[in-house]
């Protein structure tokens, strides 16, 4: 075989390989991936791509929240302790095992946060909010948010949620819902108790301060430095 013939064959072979490679690539691109991210596309229309909802709307970010927290919420929606018809409809016919896998999936995502939503809030409101978050209000029997949700307020493993990077409207709605019993957690329901001790102005102050904080790293802390102030049915398990 002459060298020219051999190089012509190898050139043809190269073209064929390239062609087969491209064909494979188009076929693979057409088939959606077999992973949890693809399975959870149903969540993206509200919670944003990969669960990192923009904070301009109402829907909460779920990416990076502790798995135990997310699992508890899925169960709460299913069992009516949280009221949302869409959530209940979507997960009504799911095994606990799959709900846990969903929770683990979103918990495992470590994604950047958008800038803080609330800007130019009145300084008195911010001051009251920060006071409640960091120190609580002893006269009302309100513990500091940070005493359970972590000093950085990014939550604590396994099931205490972070409170930063959430839309202000969402925070207001949750605190309000807890106050009137529309949102509940497993008993003893500490957040129900705490929100009933807050005045409406306090609720606004806390939501305003929390939604005005920038988040650099949103991952939950590994553990709490001290014993939590209250006995709670969820958040610690």
């Amino acid at each position: 075989m002459s060298p020219t013939a051999s190089s012509s064959i190898s050139r043809r072979l190269a073209w064929w390989l390239l062609f087969i490679g491209l064909y494979q690539a188009t076929v693979l691109a057409a088939e959606p991936p077999n992973n949890m991210g693809q399975r959870m596309q149903a969540c993206a229309t509200c919670h944003g791509s990969e669960g990192r909802a923009t904070n301009s709307g109402y829907f909460p970010r779920i990416a990076g929240k502790p798995a135990g927290y997310l699992y508890n919420q899925l169960i709460n929606f299913r069992d009516g302790r949280r009221q949302n018809a869409t959530m209940a409809y979507l997960l009504d016919h799911m095994s606990d095992q799959y709900l846990m896998e969903i929770a683990n999936h979103f918990a495992s995502l470590d994604l950047p946060y958008p800038p803080a939503q609330t800007t130019k809030a009145p300084s008195a409101t911010l001051a009251r909010g920060e006071q409640l978050v960091r120190h609580g209000d002893e006269t009302r029997g309100v513990p500091a948010c940070a005493s359970c949700h972590g000093a950085a307020m990014t939550g604590v493993a396994p099931a205490m949620p972070g409170l930063l990077g959430l839309p202000r409207d969402y925070l207001l709605a949750q605190l309000g819902a807890w106050r009137v019993g529309m949102r509940r957690a497993s008993s003893p329901d500490c957040m129900g108790e705490i929100t009933r001790r807050l005045s409406p102005q306090d609720v606004v102050a806390v939501a305003t301060w929390l939604s005005s904080q920038p988040v650099k790293r949103g991952l939950p802390a590994g553990s709490l430095p001290a014993q939590p102030a209250m006995e709670c049915g969820s958040g610690f398990r």
Partner: protein, 424 residues
Amino acid sequence: MKEMRLKLAKTLALIMLVCVGGFVFLDWIKSQEVPSIDDRPFNELLAPQVAQRGAYLVQVGNCAACHTARGGLPFAGGKNIDTPFGTVVTSNITSDKLTGIGAWSAADFWQAMHHGRSKDGRLLYPAFPYTEYTRITRDDTDAMFAYLLSVQPVRQINRPHALQFPYNTQAALAVWRALFFSPEQYEPLKQQSDEWNRGAYLVKGLGHCQACHTARNMLGATQSKLGLSGGLIPMQNWYAPSLASPAEAGLQDWPMEEIMQLLKTGKTAHSSTLGPMAEVVFSSTQHLNPEDLRAMAHFLKELPRQVSEKVVRKFANSEGQQIGQSLYHNECAQCHGDHGEGLGDYPSLAGNRTVIMNSSVNLVRVILSGGFTPTTEGHPRPYGMPPFGHTLSDTEVAAIATYVRNAWGNKGEAVMPLNVQKSR
């Protein structure tokens, strides 16, 4: 004049009273036709294997779906069932002696299941599908009762129903029953196999498939003579497609294995269960034992065909199709493919019966609400369809629905924005 009117009113009232009385009597007569079987010795019921069989039957009959409220204790009732006539509240069927059925006898339970009468003789509302359960054998109701007696008692007083007049009266129920209900037993057809008969017994009795898959009349009665020819599920706004028509959900042309796969796992290569049927698969049919699964599939496969005629009164127009097409390519093609061919686990829309059948109710519902097929042993990690109800307008949903009903060789009536609004 005034006197005459009064006399007329009195006469009318009297006629009404006689009629209602007649109906009550008729209902009573009918309930005498099938004599109750004497109560069984109680210790026979207490045998563990009886309760075990009962547990299976209660699961297949999906009693918990109605008798357990969201987040409530199993079988303690308290779930609201919305009907066009008001709200029926399900009852506590735990073994609690005061508020449940713990003080009932097996004969009382049979009377409820077979005759639609409570222990105290009160007529029951047919939201409780005794119109189908009446075909369950005494042997099976005894087993179910034995199981329910073994369920953890829950002290929870039944809340009263909230029904409009006259539906909230026993007289109205007696009239309804005289018109639409007779206790009956399942009579096996001799020319059919045992397997077919078992399937028929499950579909027509315990499975109460007819409760959804048959259209209800103005008074909310299912009409057996229609067969399982499909119907809109009242208040839920889902259409239970015809099991008799191969153009809807008929299974006549399916291989047996695929029918069983759908009932067992909720998903096959060509079909998915969503909405109320996802619940049925999740709570009931996935638990069928292999023999019953095959029997049910056998009976459904051999249901007599009813050809449903294609109805197209409103046609898609080319301008709307262009809008629909561009929306489809932005929102849907990523999973369902550029040509509706379906990618991976996602179903094809070309030739998909839910997409093209006469009723567009389910197609619209799926676009608005999305959903997951149920998690089952055979299909434990389903992919989800996103809900588009809050991101797309009625007009946009109608455009997409009309487009997919008329693309890739599909043919179906155009969907109007008003149809979408009704489903919200």
